[in-house]
Subunit: 329 residues, 6 copies
Amino acid sequence: MPSEADQERIARYRPLSGMETPRFSGLASFMRLPVMEPREAPGRIDIGLVGIPFDGATTNRPGARLGPRGVREASTGTRARNAATGIAPYDLAACADLGDVPVNPVDVAATARAIEAFYRPLAQAGIVPLSVGGDHFVTYPVLRALGRTRPLGLIHIDAHSDTDDGQYDGTRLTHGTPFRRAIEDGVLDPRRMVQIGLRGSTDSVDELDWALGQGIRIVPMEAVIDRGLPSVLAEARTVVGDGPTYLSFDVDALDPAYAPGTGTPEMGGFTSREALQILRALRGIDLVGADVVEVAPPLDPSGVTALVGATLAFEILCLLAEAVAARRD
Amino acid sequence: MPSEADQERIARYRPLSGMETPRFSGLASFMRLPVMEPREAPGRIDIGLVGIPFDGATTNRPGARLGPRGVREASTGTRARNAATGIAPYDLAACADLGDVPVNPVDVAATARAIEAFYRPLAQAGIVPLSVGGDHFVTYPVLRALGRTRPLGLIHIDAHSDTDDGQYDGTRLTHGTPFRRAIEDGVLDPRRMVQIGLRGSTDSVDELDWALGQGIRIVPMEAVIDRGLPSVLAEARTVVGDGPTYLSFDVDALDPAYAPGTGTPEMGGFTSREALQILRALRGIDLVGADVVEVAPPLDPSGVTALVGATLAFEILCLLAEAVAARRD
Amino acid sequence: MPSEADQERIARYRPLSGMETPRFSGLASFMRLPVMEPREAPGRIDIGLVGIPFDGATTNRPGARLGPRGVREASTGTRARNAATGIAPYDLAACADLGDVPVNPVDVAATARAIEAFYRPLAQAGIVPLSVGGDHFVTYPVLRALGRTRPLGLIHIDAHSDTDDGQYDGTRLTHGTPFRRAIEDGVLDPRRMVQIGLRGSTDSVDELDWALGQGIRIVPMEAVIDRGLPSVLAEARTVVGDGPTYLSFDVDALDPAYAPGTGTPEMGGFTSREALQILRALRGIDLVGADVVEVAPPLDPSGVTALVGATLAFEILCLLAEAVAARRD
Amino acid sequence: MPSEADQERIARYRPLSGMETPRFSGLASFMRLPVMEPREAPGRIDIGLVGIPFDGATTNRPGARLGPRGVREASTGTRARNAATGIAPYDLAACADLGDVPVNPVDVAATARAIEAFYRPLAQAGIVPLSVGGDHFVTYPVLRALGRTRPLGLIHIDAHSDTDDGQYDGTRLTHGTPFRRAIEDGVLDPRRMVQIGLRGSTDSVDELDWALGQGIRIVPMEAVIDRGLPSVLAEARTVVGDGPTYLSFDVDALDPAYAPGTGTPEMGGFTSREALQILRALRGIDLVGADVVEVAPPLDPSGVTALVGATLAFEILCLLAEAVAARRD
Amino acid sequence: MPSEADQERIARYRPLSGMETPRFSGLASFMRLPVMEPREAPGRIDIGLVGIPFDGATTNRPGARLGPRGVREASTGTRARNAATGIAPYDLAACADLGDVPVNPVDVAATARAIEAFYRPLAQAGIVPLSVGGDHFVTYPVLRALGRTRPLGLIHIDAHSDTDDGQYDGTRLTHGTPFRRAIEDGVLDPRRMVQIGLRGSTDSVDELDWALGQGIRIVPMEAVIDRGLPSVLAEARTVVGDGPTYLSFDVDALDPAYAPGTGTPEMGGFTSREALQILRALRGIDLVGADVVEVAPPLDPSGVTALVGATLAFEILCLLAEAVAARRD
Amino acid sequence: MPSEADQERIARYRPLSGMETPRFSGLASFMRLPVMEPREAPGRIDIGLVGIPFDGATTNRPGARLGPRGVREASTGTRARNAATGIAPYDLAACADLGDVPVNPVDVAATARAIEAFYRPLAQAGIVPLSVGGDHFVTYPVLRALGRTRPLGLIHIDAHSDTDDGQYDGTRLTHGTPFRRAIEDGVLDPRRMVQIGLRGSTDSVDELDWALGQGIRIVPMEAVIDRGLPSVLAEARTVVGDGPTYLSFDVDALDPAYAPGTGTPEMGGFTSREALQILRALRGIDLVGADVVEVAPPLDPSGVTALVGATLAFEILCLLAEAVAARRD
């Protein structure tokens, strides 16, 4: 229960309601929330929604740079209260749209620096970031900012492990390598890391061997099907434990029927109900940040992928708001 | 078993077969059935298929006014016999396409009157209507025509409750209010009404409280998943009982992967097999009318939503034909 | 040449440059301009860009309610200086995005009132509005606000005359009637009104007779081809003269190849170069407001129509900025 | 001027007006005209609109079998009077939609027989057919039916000559051969035949040599550009003279920007205004039939090609109605 | 375990890796495998991937002629090792892309002969074909080539039985008849044939009666749901036994949500995970050939169907490689 | 006239004809030409078609990395002889598809090196490259390879000047800077360089000033319209003179109606006929290489942009073949 002062503060940051103005009207901020300059955020808000419109580390089909814009638009359809869990995130935490990181679309390393520089003051101010990518590379600099003081645990929902060492004879910063880099940098604790939903074909077994050697818990899609999601999710909770944990959701974890608009789709993924089931099982984990990545609107003419991205973001926002409230108490 | 006279009459109204002329040829009437003026229907047919090309009560993305045309086209792929249930609807009931209600696309109230005026003579003649919308508002005037002599029961498959009181400071006729209006008018019996598949986020809990206060049985998607569809469907039968019942199927009950072409899609809906399972469980209910609504073809470039709409309409036609036959006996 | 104080004021309202942050990043305001509450606009800005996301008066295919959002996105590709004319609008006038009018998507009359109420204080404060629709009906209430003190002249670029008396047996407020209503209300001077680009088939000759009877100058597309655009545009200048004039550009004036995303496309329209030629010929007219209407993004999967809408809006903004500067001098 | 009896007869066959019911409502017949069984047409109507949903002779991308359905839908946007020419076709001739030829999608020869059998009684009854394909092969059997008693002249607007002898080592019935076959059969007079708009690359010069050897007048696109359309169209009139003439319009004559939905698009074609200009220049020719072919809706997500097909069909209908009226006088 | 010579030979035919050159680069051969002339294949390779770009036997919507091209492109995303089963097909068998059969798009019978002529030398050389259609008719001539010396068993995954006798009053070679023709020709053993996933509506019960009369085991979708896939797949293994068996996978077996790009979609089909589950259960069967058919890219703007087709082809390739290795041992 | 030996050699490299196998069959090489390893090209061929699937220097919407694949597919529709000019390129020069440059999608500088390394041996062997991009940055390393021994002239058709110095505070290798870099490197002679078609809005006048200061001849679209294309093209010939000249065609030079599938479309561009007119006017120039860039297939659902790209490539191939033949004589 927030203090009276907190309640008052929180009440200042509410999304526009579709009961008063139509959801398709007005500028499309995340969830129709107020827009705020990042430098004004400290002391005012608890959770900052941030776009990272960068796909310059993509080695497959591009388009995720347009993800933040697409997810913002689709997110105008979310409302104030999660009907399934009863969570009303805007009653628990002050939330705002902090705009986009100023990326450099043609320079991976420069963008990595820009992202880290954007998130570091947020981290220092205790503002929990919910980011929308962008390709999966963007998670690496975010982790560098958030995991600076102590390595984080990670719940990683994805079709791919993204723990490659490199591609093309030595290129080490791609959307296939973020978690290897983060582990090497000590900002991610591989023994508190679980990957769920991996599938498809692979180029080698080395990547897998390295990941297992680091202590990462990997639950490929086949294991999910065999064991059932409840067992897998219970294990995930055990792996990350009580420590500070990041949540990274690659939309290609879902089957292409549910999320065709992504650069590297893999047949045989999660249904949308399973994706929601996964997220709703993560209540109570000490989440300190999260992202939804790889939404590539130009690859999806029907727009369902952006809708999925926006709905996942809302569900994660509910988790983050509860975590914020729990830490406040 | 129809009487010999009935059999002869029924045999006059058969769809064209794709074994003789290709399904893509000829004018696209519903199910390739004969087209008939509504005023000629009484005494000739048992079931009338009607389009209601109206989306003027939509508060989100429009396009459902093009639903009847899209569903007619897709329905040319249906054939004479339901392979799953064995029902051959055109052997049980005389069916025809009665064309579209003459709506006024920019005037909700005038359209409500036009719809009611269109259905009243059909109701008086005992012709069972199967309607294709159009946004969900259109169900309200249909219920006014059909429930005029006694309130109806309702099986309502949808992502949304559509029992709002109003929007925008007092607008009471929208696609979010049809069932509240119908209950207020006494044409719908809330205690014989069940809503299945509700989900997503909500703007308030008032709508839900009102609905529960009226005695409506609500089974949100989470409860469907927990309990399983068979239990839910058994309860639905109990709720509506033996009395005259209407069936309203909003295509957004399905997950956006299965039905992207709708104005207010919500992640996490029914699969197509579940939708068929629901309908096939409703055999034996005393159905007096039904509709499929919110198919918005411009929002679905692959056309699967119109296909879903057409297939649902065919499955419902099978139910209505059995109900007609049962009442005849 | 603005005064020093004006220059300083104007300099506060500049669009973000794509040379510094990518055009696809950040919230998509019109032209990447600052966003401002309408009530804060008086005294600060000269030109207000406004979205009117309403297509509830559309009697054909809907979708224009999503026009403001689509045009905002596409407008992020415009830059600071018009390379063809040399006009640098943001050096001449302070411009801002004033957001969207709070429309009621299911009530034409209520929306008309909301639009008029939104524009009246702008008009009183001398702020020149550049509006993006929405269907063409929205021009009527804008004209009521702007033409209140004296009737306006009108340059109307369109495939349709939009001077019908009504449809469906007496419905008088549709996207086919705005100019007839505005003339009846005395806010539009038909003798200072010219319509350019009309074409296609017609339901009757009555509409035309009425318009000609009022003194409206009509230049159908055939006459444009015969006479050449320069002659037509010279005539247009003569018709509107030196008085205050409104400019209304319906995107369906363009050929469907150039602007497929509109509700009532008509084969045989303007090319994009002709559209630019038309606008660039209107320099020096005393424009007091303008709009671009009928952009319907869901009907255009390639997005070229929103791009056309945004580019037309930028060209018109250049005209308005010059008019503002001229009136200032 | 039709006789009083004719006027009365003609008045029975009028299209539905969009001023009374919306254009998107009701079953989509050609131009919203009455639907009639072909066998009931003789004595009742002057012009029969017919769909030929066949693309089984296509050697490139398929989809034109869905042309009649797509054009019917788009044609609901045409109105009663041609604003450019003033022709009101439904005042001059009784018109109806005669449905589709019962084609066999997998058998070219059988379909050729079915088409010829469908058109022969129409020809005998003096009913002028306006056909919508379907690939260009369908013109061949139509010509066999119409040119049976004397060879016809032909105005052929197309990107391709369609006078090949065959493909794939001897296949002689394809969409590349209809006019060669018709000339061989004596139903088409090559000296009264003109082809306008040919362009692109070619596999050989043999086809051209044969065509020129037969006396066909060929005006490739380059010549159109050099000489100007008026000169070309004057020549076309001279070529066909006063005799009975058929008009065949392949939508790929237009540039792919204007008509992307066709199987064999060729860059550099006619604009939509030129296409209209061509047709409007053909008034007074003794047209006995016409077609619009190669509209392939699945290849055009924006629908502009079907709109072009429908508008061309309406313009041609105006020509046919005048020809009918002229022959009646 | 291949002999050393075999290992050396097999190692010559490896796909390009996406770790070295991007998957979107280079000509798109199946799986990025080497391309080889069919006449050079004997003695060199074990498995030949072949495209059959023919949809001239389609009685519904066309487009499958573009299937091979679409599947080749999507197949560039597959990698060297099946992560779920651990099979590394290119270690077990030498594979190459043999190009496309030279079909005649307008002549079903000629194409049947061309297909059979293409496959006969492959069959004689013991090369196992994996074909990508094309419509389902193409399976018939492939079976004639492969089943020439002894009738084959068949595992048939499809929404439709494709055992019709004919359509349109006697047309016997369509995509609805391949298996009836193959049984009549003695190249397919109906008692070793199982059909899984049939569903939808039917025109008659005759087709079913004939199929059952022949001894074909039919498991419609309803039975799959009732019994569960494991039981069905165990039965399938029993039906085909140890004998040489063909596998034919029609992509319309999947639900339209998963595979919208197909000519005759039927609501209520398999999910992508079930499709993979089916294939992975077929390890150990003596497969002598296989195909994936009815992928129609023009009907699927998001491209998921081609992705499904390519992934199914990869999974089947794994099965065939194991079968080749097993026969080698 | 090639020597007999040349004729024999040239005759070995002919495209497959659509008269023998359908254009949609087989692997899609450029123009259906033979595929050859670059290292085997010297001494065998005169012209090499090369794909450069790289869009990592794009600062706007991505997708051009898929350009080579899209253009290859569309190019299968071109035939052996240019009907407009009579040029039969495959009779004049031996042509082959040399595959794609092995780019690194996430590293601009590494890709620049890879491109230069790919083209240098071709240049040394006197093989004329016709490249398909990729974003416009790729022209820079190609120019470095071709202009190494002496600076080249340039005919540059584009909506943008691409002579920026940098973006984002110092990034110098982007698709907006290739020609500035090439001039700085001395491989491009600015006084023999002409830019045609520039238009739209600009961020500053600096870029223009620099370009003019270098002596580049710039003909913006407005000047093209004013002066007419013939005058502009005559000037272009004068500018480049008799020296070795490169031709670079950015598809965004065309209007978005003709080429929507490009990252930075600008309203008001060339028509397709003008684009052909431009190219056909360049006969006789001493062309030593050429490219077509910025085709981004994911941004164009109708595929017309890839068709335009392929047709432009064919027209340019005709020019290059004539230049090769002229140099041979």
